[in-house]
């Protein structure tokens, strides 16, 4: 069985974020980067499928500048078999453009199952995996929490509010992975050393047309500091006036 996992390199969400001078992105200086959490679960699921079958191959693929090779190596050190970097140096926020590049790489690869994270934890668009399935003309099951692949069929479970649904579709297919399905393993020393010898191909990214631009990024306005309006009962009239006129809660 041939599996592909699409992986995005994202900043650690616990970092301290600043808007870049351009105003349309974050300042990357000082941030730590790693594989997006959901993509990590997707890689883990794919690796477990090949381990269970005792056969098959997991290809991990990421679009971005050369630093994404580090993230791809991490997936290789977890147990993926080969990696592809679709090289593109500028940041892209358009999921359709990214999906187009991924589809161009994946369409003739003979993959039985393509796995994506439910969303990237930084931009949270939830779009790339769905677009990719559409571009490849494949069925897609999104945000799945359980997966079983057997006899050419994918059976998956999706969590709903207070309920769940079970869905099945024939292979080949695309699935996007929610949390709860598997925790990404910690690469072992053996895995880390083995990953250095696994193939990592670098290819140009054939991005689709950019359909939208990120206009502006802003941090929420800082909350104003509290104000002491005075002391004792003399301050009450002013406080009441402010509650009525400024806060408009009275």
């Amino acid at each position: 069985m041939k599996l592909a996992v699409c992986i995005k390199r994202v900043p650690d969400m616990e970092g301290r974020f600043k808007i870049a001078a351009s105003g349309t992105g974050i300042d990357e200086a000082g941030l730590k980067y790693d594989m997006s959490d959901f993509d990590g679960y997707a890689a883990e699921v794919a690796i477990q499928i090949t381990e269970k079958l005792g056969a098959g191959e997991v290809t991990v693929i990421s679009l971005g500048p050369d630093v994404v090779q580090e993230t791809l190596r991490k997936a290789l050190s977890m147990g993926a078999h080969r990696a592809v970097q679709l090289k593109h140096d500028a940041p892209v926020s358009d999921g359709l453009a990214v999906a187009t590049a991924l589809a161009a790489e994946l369409k003739d690869g003979g993959y039985d199952l393509i796995l994506c994270g439910r969303m990237a934890v930084d931009t949270q668009n939830r779009s790339t995996g769905i677009f990719l399935a559409e571009l490849l003309g494949l069925p897609v099951i999104s945000a799945i929490s359980q997966l079983n692949v057997e006899g050419g069929v994918v059976k998956a479970r999706r969590e709903l509010e207070g309920a769940y649904e079970l869905i099945e579709c024939p292979l080949p297919a695309v699935v996007t992975i929610d949390e709860g399905i598997a925790r990404a393993r910690y690469p072992s020393l053996k895995g880390i050393m083995a990953a250095k010898k696994k193939p990592l191909e670098v290819k140009p990214a054939h991005l689709g047309a950019i359909t939208y631009q990120l206009e502006k990024m802003e941090l929420p306005a800082e909350r104003a500091a509290g104000r002491i309006v005075g002391e004792g009962k003399d301050a009450v009239p002013e406080l009441v006036r402010l509650l009525k006129e400024e806060a408009k809660v009275l």
């Binding site: 969400m13 616990e14 200086a29 594989m35 991490k74 934890v121 020393l189 250095k196």
Partner: protein, 628 residues
């Protein structure tokens, strides 16, 4: 990658009222606060040049990227599987159920993940199933586990220490039998030295081994304070036990080393009969509770089969191999805890708003973060100077372990051995003491919250207190330093250390840090002179000389930490000039401030102690036991 969702909130206190949580102690501040990755990278790559190790044949498969990947796995395991039950190790300590020790359920997944990640055999030879990772990196990786939960990390340390001892001195058959399952995490390990009447003085131990016709021995006696002596983390436990073969000479020269498994093995390596080593009970400690401390009886109810390791009567020499490793590991654990406490305190001090600066007389102005108060910064700076100094000292030992094994020239390898000899007692004692100061300061910065059981500092304060006691108390370390390490082989180790420190002084000569080098040079001279005086006294009146060993240890620690800080300062001074942004510059400025703190506040304190040592102070020696 870490997410906030996995961070456990502290358990709610009982009683009518939920504890008041100030805005500065939200769950965001209860993240594990492991050793900061920038600090670790600064020390590993800039100060200790870990990258250069990759040039050596033993490490040629490695690269900085691979080191970073190993540390990233260790950090993930520490945050996700260790930190998550640090508190529970304390509140839900090991207990005996049906004669077996039951640990907190969080321990096993953490232990298994550590083994699966390959960390148990990380630095071991490839032919023994190891990955030949430099000690420098594996010590850093373990320090991360310690900073999350030292009690759980201890089980790995014990297994690795016991396995390394078999690797160093066991027969081929013993290595083949015991090492693979130990390194795979299937068998645990312990070191069983102490007896009820033989603690610091192992020469008096009484456990005995009776030779059997089949070449094995039957062990009899009792051991106490055996960490990890019983548990169900692993299928089997391999105890390394010191005992006397029947008829052996008295004192240290009659002690042999044995393997005593909990379960005997069948010929095919599967578990066989239960061996006659049984749990006698648990000891309930002040802190570090997650590591069970056991009393073990050998041969009390059934014969206890033991296998001799190496030659008879050489057990104590062999055990020192493991003890040296364990002593550095004690320093490493203290360092991890100190860093965690410091990080908690900084996060708190940045967000907790109280009071106004002395120059501000306006009561209506908003209160400032407490980090704006000079006395809070004093406490943080003292903590930083201690925890980073401790980290540098244990990483120095890690680097020396690598040099001892792989430095290109025989002279360099020999010098590394000599340096390790003299630095090991310091690497055990300084972090234990300095990080206790740091944890105490963190508690002080956090005020009542630091003292409250709902928050992590008071546990660290209790946990780390053990590090002054186990693996040879600080007093024993001081005797080892003055009575053995600085005087042996004509003071070769001490001279090697002086030469090493002078290399740093020379490097600092033409830099803005030259005045600090000058201050250290003066201190070095004083230290050398009082070492000379004490060395002579060791030959003529060892009781008097050794009565001053603890003060000597303190002076030695202050000088050596000044040296590691000067070296970090030199690197930080260079790096701040090329910093890419303000945040990075602040990071290096912080390191320089901690260095200045050490030279302004700590190093000068050797003055009165040097005077005391030089006149061979006799007050404590002359204090008659009857006077107490």
């Amino acid at each position: 990658m870490s997410t906030l969702s996995r961070i456990p909130l502290p358990p709610a206190a009982g009683g009518l009222f939920a504890p008041y949580v100030p805005a500065s102690l939200t769950h965001r501040d209860l993240v594990p606060n492991l050793i900061d990755s920038r600090t670790l990278a600064f020390q590993l790559y800039d100060v200790f040049d870990a990258g250069a190790l990759c040039q050596r044949p033993r490490f040629s498969d490695y690269s900085r990227e691979a080191f970073d990947a190993v540390l990233s796995s260790a950090r993930g395991i520490a945050a996700d599987l260790y930190a998550t039950h640090q508190k529970l190790n304390d509140t839900d300590e090991p207990s005996v159920v049906n004669g077996n020790v039951v640990l907190n359920p969080g321990v096993k997944p953490a232990y298994d993940a550590t083994a699966e990640a390959g960390l148990l055999a990380a630095s071991q030879d490839a032919e023994l199933g190891g990955m030949q990772l430099p000690h420098l990196i594996s010590i850093a990786a373990y320090a991360l586990l310690d900073s999350a939960n030292a009690a759980t990390a201890s089980y790995s340390l014990l297994t690795v220490g016991a396995a390394n001892l078999i690797a160093a001195f066991g027969s081929q058959e013993q290595k083949d039998t015991w090492l693979p399952p130990m390194f795979a995490g299937k068998f645990g390990g312990t070191m069983a030295l102490t007896e009820p009447d033989a603690g610091s003085s192992l020469a008096d131990l009484r456990c005995s081994a009776a030779p059997q016709p089949d070449g094995t021995y039957h062990m009899g006696g009792t051991k106490i304070w055996i960490s990890g002596g019983d548990h169900e983390l692993t299928q089997n436990i391999v105890h390394l036990v010191l005992a006397r073969i029947e008829g052996a000479p008295p004192g240290t020269k009659g002690i042999s080393l044995f393997i005593v498994p909990k379960f005997l093995l069948n010929a095919d390596g599967t578990l066989g009969a239960r061996n006659g080593v049984v749990l006698g009970g648990l000891i309930h400690k002040m802190g570090w509770r997650g590591t069970c401390s056991t009393l073990l009886n050998f041969g009390e109810t059934a014969p206890c089969v033991a296998y001799l390791v190496g030659e008879p009567h050489k057990g104590l020499t062999y055990m020192f191999h493991m003890m040296n490793e364990a002593r550095i590991a004690v320093g490493r654990a203290a360092t991890g805890m100190g860093h965690t406490a410091y990080n908690h305190a900084v996060a708190y001090a940045r967000t907790r708003r109280q009071g106004r600066l002395p120059s501000n007389k306006d009561p209506l102005s908003p209160p400032v973060s407490i980090i704006e108060h000079a006395d809070v910064r004093r406490m943080l700076l003292e903590a930083l100077a201690n925890v980073d100094g401790a980290l540098a000292l244990i990483l120095e030992c890690g680097r020396l372990l690598d040099d001892e094994q792989t430095a290109p020239s025989a002279a360099d390898r020999q010098q590394a051995s000599a340096l390790l000899e003299v630095l090991t007692p310091l690497a055990k004692t300084f972090p234990a003491l300095g990080c206790q100061t740091a944890i105490s300061n963190a508690m002080q910065v956090m005020g009542g919250y630091g003292y409250a059981r709902e928050y992590p500092i008071e546990q660290l304060y209790r946990d780390n207190r053990l590090n002054q006691i186990h693996e040879g108390t600080n007093g024993i370390q001081a005797l080892d330093l003055l009575g053995r390490k600085v005087v042996q082989q004509g003071g070769a180790s001490f001279k090697a250390l002086m030469a090493r420190i002078r290399t740093t002084l020379a490097a600092a000569a033409e830099t803005p840090l030259a005045p600090y080098a000058g201050q250290l040079e003066t201190a070095l001279g004083q230290w050398a002179e009082c070492t000379r005086v004490l060395g002579i006294a060791m030959a003529t009146d060892p009781n008097l000389a050794l009565a001053n060993a603890n003060v000597y240890m303190d002076v030695s620690n202050r000088v050596v930490i000044a040296w590691v800080w000067l070296r970090m300062g030199l690197t930080a001074d260079g790096r701040r000039r090329t910093a890419v942004n303000e945040e990075e510059r602040d990071f290096f400025e912080g390191k320089l401030a901690a260095m200045r703190y050490w030279f302004a506040f700590e190093l000068p304190r050797i003055g009165p102690d040097i005077a005391l040592l030089s006149r061979l102070e006799a007050t404590t020696l002359e204090a008659n036991p009857a006077w107490f």
